[in-house]
Symmetry: C2
Subunit: 357 residues, 2 copies
């Protein structure tokens, strides 16, 4: 029916006024009388007017878009952070463009480029595992475009950051395992020494030290820490007949793999070996046994990240980079302690062929 979309000019014409007045009225500019505002609003509704954000963005230089770069949206942690960010952003009338880097450096660079040319007002990002060069982020900073990093951060940039205390989370977890009587604790970590894995390793080491348990490099398994990697790491430990009584994995996925392998070898969990992961992925609750893990406070992290971002947006780039550290929470489940019903399950113990642990 109606032809092209209505513009402020159409509204102005109908009202025998000008576009500038209409614009100001719509933006609730104090210089416009209430009477005119009311008229304009009414006519806008009548004409089914929808503001053209593109035009507005061009003129004002503000797109009201913010780009969020995550390694993958398909991870509870990241999608929850995004949800937290969206919450805040939408309240402020900003829209969020989610881009995935898929842990690929090239994709990440591309994606930043894309967001910049989409003229986002700022960028929130978590760095991919394989990123070792940060020029693309530096470029963002150089252009004076607000940038906030969360979780996967780097020291190579002067930028606001929001992280959890990975050190503390790991430390608490290992302390817990030790309290459960474990002394030979395997640690799954990544060869990529990005901040989160470095910190978790440090927490592991310090907890051992504090309890007078010697650090044994044989207990450290490096991998990409997906499920399959966890399987291989576990298998590797078993094959080498390394004595161990617990596993602390920097990733929930890897610990899941380890559990599978242990089960296949009829190792009892948690009686013979206790395990803990990191991340509180949903499957850790419904795995059998359920998995002790560290919750990363994803939604709060999203909110805090967004708040940091909007502070930055307001204050301009001159403000000093802020680093916020959130406390993670250790969530103790079956895999690291023996609840009653579990003890009654009575797995067949004759099948314990591997006696090295």
């Amino acid at each position: 029916m109606k032809k092209g979309k209505a513009t402020i000019h159409d509204i102005a014409e109908k009202l025998n006024t000008t576009a500038s007045t209409v614009s100001r009225a719509l933006n609730n500019n104090p210089r416009i009388s209430d009477a005119t505002k009311k008229q304009v609003l009414k006519m806008a509704k009548q004409l089914n007017y929808q503001p053209n954000n593109i035009a507005s963005a061009l003129r004002s230089g503000k797109s009201k878009l913010i780009g969020v770069v995550v390694p993958t949206a398909n991870r509870n942690f990241f999608s929850s952070v995004v949800r937290g960010i969206e919450e805040i952003a939408n309240n402020l009338n900003y829209k969020v463009i989610i881009s995935q880097s898929y842990e690929e450096y090239d994709k990440e660079v591309d994606t930043i480029e894309t967001l910049l040319s989409a003229r986002v007002d700022g960028i929130i990002a978590s760095i991919g595992k394989n990123t070792e060069n940060f020029e693309h982020f530096q470029k963002v900073l150089d252009k004076g475009i607000p940038l906030v990093l969360f979780d996967r951060i780097t020291d190579h940039l002067e930028v606001s950051q929001v992280v959890i205390d990975d050190y503390y989370g790991a430390y608490q977890t290992v302390q817990h395992l030790i309290k459960q009587g474990c002394k030979r604790i395997v640690h799954f970590t990544s060869p990529k020494k990005i901040n989160i894995y470095k910190e978790r390793l440090r927490g592991y080491e310090d907890a051992l030290k504090e309890n007078g348990i010697p650090f044994d490099p044989l207990l450290i398994e490096e991998s990409n820490m997906q499920l399959e990697d966890g399987r291989q790491s576990m298998q590797h430990i078993l094959d080498k007949k390394i004595h161990f009584d617990a596993v602390f994995s920097a990733s929930d996925y890897a610990v899941m793999g380890a559990i599978q392998v242990l089960k296949e070898h009829h190792v009892r969990i948690p009686q013979d070996v206790k395990l803990a992961g990191f991340g509180n992925e949903p499957f850790t609750t419904f795995s059998d046994p359920s998995i002790t893990t560290v919750d990363q406070k994803s939604i709060p992290m999203g909110r805090v990240t967004a708040e940091t971002f909007f502070d930055l947006l307001k204050s301009g780039t001159n403000s000093v980079p802020q680093k916020t550290v959130l406390k993670p929470e250790l969530i103790i489940r079956q895999s690291s302690q023996s609840p009653e019903e579990y003890k009654t399950l009575n797995f067949d113990q004759n099948d314990l062929t591997n006696s090295s642990y």
Copy 2:
């Protein structure tokens, strides 16, 4: 160092030519000589020129943005579809804005509004469970903006759609369970009779009929089909001492819950009860036992959806809506048949307190 970003005017000035020539050169317009093009490209690089998509969008009416609405990005299926869409879109130099409706009707309406005012060139969506009114989508169609629906569709709109053959997937699964000897097959479905659940139920019914097995309403459990719902449904069946030997759930999450409850009652899987889900969520591979399920061909679905979308974009809205149906794939795992190693696990059978199945 460099002040404001370079524009085509800056390039033109340096080259002693005009913005229009530069614009055409950058867009590889055949009316510009190769020599000039080369010069322009070189100068663009030199000035670190970055096209202003906003300006381009305003003038051309094409934002090169496409909006994708999913109930939640935090589901393997949806994030994979998005990945498929991105693949195609990025190749064509389009960017994807992902929006999540979180299965909330209001959010969905809002999100569509937001995308429209961001002036996306079109929308790809999967409808939330609670959406029963489709005016917001109709509005998109009325504006002549390309719209394609995938997976969660509706008959209330004349719109291009991409789905898998849910009927076929369910039918195959139930046939499989019957071949395994099952005759009393519980079905978990949703009270929301959206297309996918209707079709899966139909497949279930037809498979039974074809095998001369009577349909028993007592075996149908309706819920929201999250993990907890699956637990409750299973518990409900057990409490009512309804005889059954299999569960076919329209959701992987619900079947996971069912498995937990069955285990708690020391029901042996798959010896006593066989189970199958739908969706091929990652956890179905590493659950114990691993879960038979239906793969929804998410990446291909994403690709096909994107292709359908871009066809529509090219041909204009006058083209007839297309419906594409992809074949899903039944993936048989431990939960529905007895592999060798499983038989040797020897769960304690004395604990079978519930003898009603």
